[in-house]
Symmetry: C2
Subunit: 322 residues, 2 copies
């Protein structure tokens, strides 16, 4: 992994991924006691940053390999990112999803042109299904975060943050990133190391699923006890990746951790002050900036809203929390 891979990804994404703006609100600044700038990747295609890494990974395959198609395991944002990326390259995509996934997620992924194959979580082995399909059809597996071209694609978010911060005259700031497996975080960290070394990346995670914060503290990969049971499901993974963790360990500051209640409150603030729809996992960085102010340094903070794929019931719950 290096910065040149991220710059190459930016070229591949030119005209395909959205250059999301950097937004702010005086009302949020007042709560935080410093200026907050928001990078809304919920406005990215398919509603999350995942499209960047997916598109880059598909685009980076050699033509013959790509023509056979790609395969991914995901019930969430990575699935939609891969589905759209494959469609834009006119190649097949197979997405393996649990049969009990929310109907809307199954439908969205299929509507984006992917072949959705469901499995029974209780009785079937998804890896076995995936391997068989990949072999039979010559599909290339694209992992959700521990994959160099995926990290490079997510890192283009960091190139944009570096440019936008420079335009705003911001030379020093904490950049808080919603963190699951670390693909977005490590990509942004590499981009900022090169283009904006005064910007320090911090991770944000939900309480009880703070594997990255604990790993950063101990210096080695730590696992979560559970991998479900939190509304921030989009960013919950068993542990940081083997590729992403060394990058985060070298470049990131201490991790920040917020409660579910704070994530919901941050969603309500994003609604009210930014007119943005954030999903719970996509709101943890904003929550940290708003409610963990004593753990943040400096006059300015930049946060990602990593995704906005949330259903009406959960969004209504967030609006009722304020």
């Amino acid at each position: 992994m290096n910065i040149e891979m991220i710059r190459a990804a930016a070229q591949r994404l030119e005209g395909h991924a959205r250059r999301t703006p950097l937004l702010s609100s005086p009302f949020l600044d007042e709560i935080a006691g410093r200026r907050i700038f928001v990078k809304p990747e919920c406005l990215q295609h398919t509603g999350s940053f995942k499209f960047r890494g997916a598109y880059n990974a598909v685009a980076a395959l050699d033509r013959d390999t790509r023509t056979n198609g790609v395969i991914a395991f995901s019930s969430g944002n990575h699935a939609q990112g891969i589905a759209l990326a494959a469609r834009l390259h006119a190649v097949p995509a197979v997405i393996i999803m649990p049969a009990d996934s929310p109907a809307l997620k199954l439908a969205n992924t299929a509507d984006l042109g992917a072949e959705v194959i469901t499995y029974d979580r209780a009785t079937e082995d998804r890896d076995e299904i995936g391997e068989r399909l990949a072999k039979d059809r010559g599909l290339t597996l694209i992992k959700p975060f521990d994959e160099p071209q995926v990290i490079a694609g997510q890192g283009t978010t960091g190139l944009e943050i570096a440019e936008q911060a420079a335009e705003m005259g911001i030379r020093e700031a904490n950049v808080i990133v919603c963190c699951g497996g670390g693909g977005l975080t490590s990509g942004i960290a590499l981009a900022l190391e090169a283009d904006a070394p005064g910007l320090l990346v911090r991770t944000a995670e939900p309480e009880g699923f703070d594997d990255v914060a604990r790993s950063l503290r101990s210096g080695k990969i730590e696992r979560n006890d559970a991998t479900s049971g939190n509304i921030c499901d989009a960013i919950i993974t068993p542990q940081p990746g083997n590729l992403t963790f060394p990058i985060m360990h070298r470049l990131c500051g201490p991790g920040l951790v917020v409660s579910e209640t704070e994530a919901l409150l941050a969603m309500a603030h994003a609604f009210q002050r930014l007119k943005l729809v954030a999903e719970p996992g996509g709101a943890v960085a904003l929550a940290a900036a708003l409610f963990r102010t004593d753990q943040i340094d400096g006059d300015d903070v930049i946060v990602t809203i990593s995704g906005g794929n949330v259903d009406s019931a959960m969004f209504t719950r967030a609006l009722e929390s304020i």
Copy 2:
């Protein structure tokens, strides 16, 4: 009013107003049967396009006049736009609002630094209050739409649409604009006449408050029977402006009209597919593009989402409508 005033406004707004992106979703395209591009002015400062006109009008005052401050009558988006524009120029702003305005709107306007003066709609004459204050303090009244520098500021939205459409290779399209008094519509129409003559501006209004559609049809200014009693309150005015109507009459195609139910549905689609918060009046153009497809020509349509200042209860109602 002319295009040079709009270009001058763009220079004044440079670095102050946001250049909002042009967004899209394959799911919306599918509903409409053509490509829909969305200009989300809900992401503008203060949550609506009104900031553009307000900032330009304040900036265009000569220094001595400006120093005395500005005054506006508004309970809504214009109030917030003027309040922030005045604050950014470090001049006083007085906003005259009905005493029974929603508490959040009163608070937001005051929090943006304006002096809010309330009046009793039943017993007091707001014009008399405003005139007295303006005279006593030397304040300049900035009207919400029938004011050349306000129209010029709103027209910068049109300059951006012209550029963004050209980048997407769009030479011909209907551009549907949420229309109240016609400030945004006439400004965009003038900008597109100069920079993108293949783009035809159309207005969108709520049923029962279609003064502009009727005025465009009859060729003279027509009034609404009522000026309240619709959820699209942000874009309800008694009649088109004396400055804005001749421009709209010369340049715009037939007006489009949608129901409250359709506006709510469009809000739900903007939530689900674009991750944007639209207010009911801000969603009527998207509603027209989605649900009045037989009245629209061509392969592409561009719509404004003119604002996102909606409370939780109304937004929840929209989410429940889908």
